[in-house]
Amino acid sequence: MAADRKLFLAAAALVVVAAWLPYWGFLMSAPQYPGESLMLNVSHRGISGDVQEVTTLQKFIGVRFPEHLPELRWIPPAMLGLAAMLAMAAFAGAGAVGRFFRWATVALFVALLLASAATVQQRLHAVGHDRDRHAPMSGLKDFTPRLIGPTKVGNFTVWSFPHVGGLALVVAIALAAWGAGRKARS
């Protein structure tokens, strides 16, 4: 099997696996949690991890825990569709149509990922702004956690980062782009 075909198939397989892994993660640390950061994982099933503790704490600053996340339900079918396209791209011909299909698949993949990132950022903005104005603690300004990296929220430092599923999708994009590039050169 040609190397480029293997790259597309590997990307397809990675996408299928990634769809069932957590996409995004949040690690929260504060002085009174020594050596035991709180963790939230976002997967297609919703948010898991130290949900009880985070929901207990956030009431103090009026943050509403995002419980209703319909977009997560669409991720597995979208990813399966994308995986199917990647598999088809692996077997697309060497002609102009095949080349177009491969690059179009890569472009769609990138677009999907960027759209997801934008959705996460929008949710994070809502978390820090759509707050209960009558929360017990006063004086905490609105905030927007970074998509990737640390943000100081009250006594907590919140680290946001792509989880294993998210990282797998990035790798899958790289493999697909590599495969498309190799085919173009040949």
Binding site: E53, F60, P136
Partner: protein, 624 residues
């Protein structure tokens, strides 16, 4: 020359004074260096942990103190035989733990000897037993949660003094009854009063059998192979007053052959008294051997290698060394005045506390047995009148030879004066070198008698910090107030930062109210309290814990229950009401502010934007 002759006396005087001054200065320098070294040896920086846990019996405080070693920091008090409001322990008369105390002898105790469970001759970190001398009880503390687990009253026994686990695998906990009891029905016993050694099963806490011993049974230890249980016995005269207790010049070390005792019970040679088989050694030969030792001995300690057991002389300046296999005395060396207890390092040395000399004496066991004259290695002064002493691992088969704790009976001038009653004090001594070195001292409430050490590495992995959710736990969203009988209400309550659910409970005068409460926190150190004014109730619930308590016939009125353990920025606001409606007359206590919307309410002079009133989850369910 003429000048020197004329002023010879003055010159000599100046020379002497100068020499003393220089010596003192050098001495002070050395002392300063030693102080710095000792301070460094016990300094544990904030945030770092001690190397050892030390479990100190609390004496008449009825508890166990847990101290970090080498820092001497008090980490925890484990209440055992006395109620402790601070931990919500056995405070209310209906608290099952209070009822356990009352049923077994009362709400105070006198704890003397902590005895940890052993596996293969070393501590396994599962349980710690502690005696109550005053009321003839034995308690078990779970070391995964540092809480008292079981308390039993031992039949046929008064003055539960020395206790020890039967090595190497904790087959029994032996408990010595110090105060003689009438032995009605013991036809073969010529003495009117007698005492027993009780053997308790470590898991079931049942007294399996007892062995009668005449005299006062004092301190205990077992042989390392578990064959014998040793007890010092004083007052073989069976005198009832001071003079008659001191007639004989020898008393005894009792050696109970455990297998022979078990066989006697199996063969039906024991008499059942108060449900316990009691073995009379006269009808079961081979169970009890009395080894003569100088009168009124005190401590007994088996050497870590299992070869010897050592009885301390107390009124005699000697220790008696007995071969464990032959039960024969092999040496009786002098060690100093008032020898009470002995502990060991890992280099063949014994350390004996000298109550009258206020010293710890270090001596070499092999040299003492061989009759060598240089068996005394070192002495160190302690402050003052030392009782027990304990080296790390000294009661196990693996002593560490690093630290020794001297538990002193008096502190006199060692601390700031605090009235006539001065604190009890411990001194930590470095025994890692040839010479002992005083490191530090720390006081405690009265009054620890004995201590054992456990390595931090042994317990850290075993200690639970959040209780598991159990079948009887109240779950979030499942809170309720249920009338279970015409005059009984059960409140199923949860608590989490920083609210009780339900927050309002309405009952009737004359109801029995059962609170079944679960702290649904899942993170460590988030304990909530539940204090109910005017009802003698304070319950402490560590994270995940469920506790149940019933209060009888609350009086009409409004009672604010509140959290006694600081928990969050809203700790003060963590409270709720129990409204007890009167049944006589036509008076009804109004549910204050219930259902009112306070939006728009303004307090004169305090302009505010009030939030709309919300319905609290689970608020105001009624048991009516």
């Amino acid at each position: 020359m003429q000048f020197m002759k004329r002023h010879l006396f003055a010159l000599v005087l100046v020379a002497v004074v100068a020499t003393i001054a220089v010596t003192q200065m050098l001495g002070c320098g050395a002392s300063g260096s030693a102080r710095s070294r000792a301070a460094g040896d016990v300094y544990v920086p904030p945030g770092e942990h001690d190397k050892y846990y030390a479990f100190l019996s609390g004496g008449q405080s009825g508890s166990v103190f847990v101290v970090g070693i080498p820092s001497g920091r008090l980490i925890r008090e484990i209440p055992v035989f006395e109620p402790r409001a601070a931990y919500g322990y056995a405070v209310h008369p209906n608290d099952p733990r209070r009822q356990q105390l009352e049923a077994t002898g009362g709400a105070w105790g006198d704890t003397h000897h902590p005895a940890p469970s052993e596996t293969n001759g070393v501590y396994d970190g599962k349980y710690l037993w502690i005696n109550d001398l005053a009321n003839g009880r034995l308690a078990r503390v779970r070391l995964d949660v540092f809480e008292t687990d079981r308390i039993i009253k031992i039949p046929n026994l008064q003055g539960a003094h020395g206790i020890a686990v039967v090595s190497p695998n904790t087959k029994y906990i032996g408990v010595n009854g110090e105060f003689e009891q009438p032995t009605n029905g013991m036809a073969t016993n010529p003495a009117p009063y007698t005492s027993v050694v009780a053997f308790v099963d470590p898991e079931s806490m049942q007294v399996k059998f007892q062995v009668r011993v005449n005299g006062n049974i004092d301190i205990a230890d077992s042989s390392k192979d578990g064959k014998y249980f040793f007890s010092t016995v004083y007052n073989l005269e069976q005198g009832k007053d001071m003079g008659s207790m001191l007639q004989f010049d020898r008393d005894a070390l009792a050696a109970i052959d455990i297998a022979a005792a078990e066989k006697a019970v199996a063969e039906g040679k024991a008499e059942i008294r108060n449900g316990v088989p009691v073995i009379d050694p006269e009808t079961a030969p081979g169970v009890l051997t009395l080894i003569p030792v100088p009168k009124n001995p005190h401590g007994v300690n088996a050497t870590p290698d299992g070869r010897y057991v050592i009885a301390s002389g107390k009124l005699s300046p000697t220790v008696t060394i007995i071969d464990v296999n032959t039960l024969k005395i092999v040496a009786e060396p002098e060690v100093g005045l008032g020898p009470l207890h002995t502990t060991f390092d890992n280099r063949g040395n014994a350390y004996t506390s000298l109550f009258l000399d206020s010293q710890v004496v270090k001596w070499n066991i092999d040299k003492a047995v061989a009759g060598a004259s240089d068996y005394i290695v070192d002495r160190i002064n302690v402050h003052y009148n030392i009782g027990h002493l304990q080296a790390v691992g000294g009661e196990t088969m693996q002593p560490q030879g690093d630290y020794l704790l001297a538990l002193n009976k008096l502190s006199k001038d060692q601390y700031l004066p605090v009235g006539p009653d001065m604190p009890e004090a411990q001194e930590l001594i470095d025994i890692s070198g040839e010479k002992m070195r005083m490191l530090a001292a720390f006081p405690t409430p009265p009054e620890p008698h004995d201590a054992v050490f456990m390595a931090a590495s042994l317990l850290k992995g075993k200690v639970k910090q959040v209780f598991d959710v159990e079948a009887h736990s109240v779950k979030e969203g499942k809170e309720s107030v249920v009338r279970t009988a015409p005059d009984a209400v059960t409140v199923n309550m949860t608590m989490i930062r920083s609210a009780y659910t339900p927050e309002t409970i309405s009952v009737r005068e004359g109801d029995r109210v059962t609170f079944r409460m679960t702290n649904v926190e899942t993170i460590r150190d988030m304990t909530h309290g539940f204090a109910l004014p005017d009802h003698g109730l304070n319950v402490s619930l560590p994270p995940g814990a469920t506790k149940e308590i019933t209060i009888d016939t609350p009086k009409p009125g409004v009672y604010w229950f509140y959290c006694t353990n600081f928990c969050s920025a809203l700790h003060l606001e963590m409270r709720g009401r129990m409204i007890v409606q009167p049944t006589k007359g036509d008076v009804t206590i109004a549910d204050w502010h219930a259902g009112q919307n306070v939006a728009g309410m303004q307090v004169p002079g305090v302009p505010s934007t009030a939030r709309p009133a919300t319905t609290q989850p689970g608020a105001a369910p009624s048991g009516r």
